[in-house]
């Protein structure tokens, strides 16, 4: 089927197999390889992207379901001049990553969380990120990073 999808602001039409998953469309058709496939079973959140501004697990969405929709991946977050998005900057400042595998999905989940809840409590951050696993277990600094990105002092 033909799909026309806007990814990080760029609209394109591609012929794809009906069964193609969104994450494979992003990585293999659009060449955007920051979004990782982790568990491949809707659990780990490594493949999290935004679909029309909402976080989704792109291993559990068909590419054809993104037809006519807008997709955002971590590649599209920074400004054209390279200035990091506040969530990216906070992850760097607070050392919110270790191996980095979960980071693209984690950052997109945080962007979505802060869009819905601009000043979350620490508990709300932990609850809001329950769909994203960090197997380095670096959650503490990730939570700090989200609080910093929301303009709060993580103490």
């Amino acid at each position: 089927m033909q799909v026309t999808t806007t990814v990080n602001g760029e609209a394109r039409t591609d012929e794809v197999e009906d069964r193609l998953l969104l994450v494979h469309y992003l990585r293999d058709v659009r060449g955007l390889r920051a979004t990782n496939v982790g568990c491949d079973t809707t659990s780990c959140g490594a493949c999290t992207v935004l679909l029309d501004g909402e976080s989704v697990k792109s291993c559990t969405v068909l590419a054809v379901q993104a037809d006519g929709r807008e997709v955002s991946t971590v590649e599209g977050l920074a400004a054209a001049d390279g200035t990091l998005h506040p969530v990216q900057a906070a992850f760097r400042q607070e050392h919110g990553l270790q191996c980095g595998f979960c980071t693209p999905g984690m950052v997109m989940a945080c962007v979505s969380l802060l869009k819905d809840n601009p000043r979350p409590t620490e508990h709300e951050v932990r609850d809001g990120l329950e769909g994203n696993f960090c197997r380095c277990t670096g959650y503490h600094n990730i939570v700090r990073a989200v609080l910093v990105a929301s303009g709060q002092d993580p103490k």
Partner: protein, 271 residues
């Protein structure tokens, strides 16, 4: 994991869905949010020839107060159930339980009706609608029919919705001010319930204590006979047939049912 090949059809109306279901029979699967179906397709537990996408049918996505009931369109996403002011006011159990389904990403895609039609006995919403006494509106080639919740969940992952039928709407009684609770036991965040208990006033439903969600009839009878929450909860495992799996054996699930039922009844009575 990649699904076996299928043809994707985006439905443009309920009639379109029904005609495709009649045409393709058990070779067709209805796709709403896809949060249960896509993992099944990826694991190749199902290999339908046709996948019918209903997720863009706005006529199936709504929450409406109608008389003594709230009507919820089958393709209403969990997120919209969580955020519905009408449900928060009139049926607060449902937004709370919907907020425990999966995680934020899953709730952004997954639908209320999809979770119910999936019929997973460990899922949260089936027990909740059973405790509420919901009614299911199902459309088929012969017309529309209404099925009460106890008849809807028929067997393991099996509901009253036939191969050529579509769930349109779930109707729940408005119960503002009525005590409610949902006690879900998991070992990890983001998991299915090992056991869960929904209570609405003196009606109690259990998740994952049988092949289907079920009412705790013995508990309800004890309450009707004047038993305290603690006494009535002792009957929570009566008539159940829980599985033994890697999470818990039958005996432990029975223990959880009793403990969670008492907690649910106490919480509901305090609301």
């Amino acid at each position: 994991m990649i699904p076996a090949p299928f043809s994707y059809v985006r439905a443009d109306s309920v009639d379109h869905v029904l005609s495709l279901l009649v045409e393709h029979g058990d070779e067709a699967k209805v796709l709403a949010g896809g949060q249960s179906l896509l993992p099944i397709l990826k694991m190749r537990l199902a290999r339908p020839e046709v996948v019918v996408d209903i997720s863009r049918l706005s006529e199936l996505a709504y929450v409406r107060v109608e008389g003594d009931e709230v009507a919820i369109g089958a393709a209403t996403r969990h997120r919209e159930v969580v955020d519905s002011a009408d449900l928060q006011r009139d049926v607060p159990l449902l937004p709370y339980v919907a907020s425990l389904v999966g995680d934020r990403q899953v709730r952004h895609r997954g639908t209320f009706g999809g979770s119910l039609v999936h019929g997973d006995p460990a899922a949260d919403l089936p027990a909740a609608v059973l405790a509420l006494g919901a009614t299911f509106v199902i459309q088929g080639p012969a017309g529309r029919r209404e099925v009460p919740a106890p008849e809807f969940f028929q067997d393991y992952f099996q509901t009253a919705v036939g191969e050529d039928e579509l769930l349109l709407e779930i109707r729940v009684p408005r119960v503002p001010g009525v005590g409610w609770a949902y006690e879900k036991f998991t070992r990890r965040a983001n998991d299915w319930a090992i056991v869960a208990v929904a209570a609405v006033d003196n009606r109690v439903a259990l998740a994952n204590m049988s092949m289907t969600p079920m009412r705790a009839v013995a508990v309800e009878a004890a309450l009707a006979g004047g038993a305290s929450a603690a006494q009535a909860a002792q009957a929570a495992a009566e008539g159940t047939s829980p599985v033994t799996d890697m999470h818990a054996d039958e005996e432990y699930r029975g223990h959880l049912a009793r403990v969670l039922t008492e907690r649910a009844l106490v919480t509901a009575a305090g609301r």
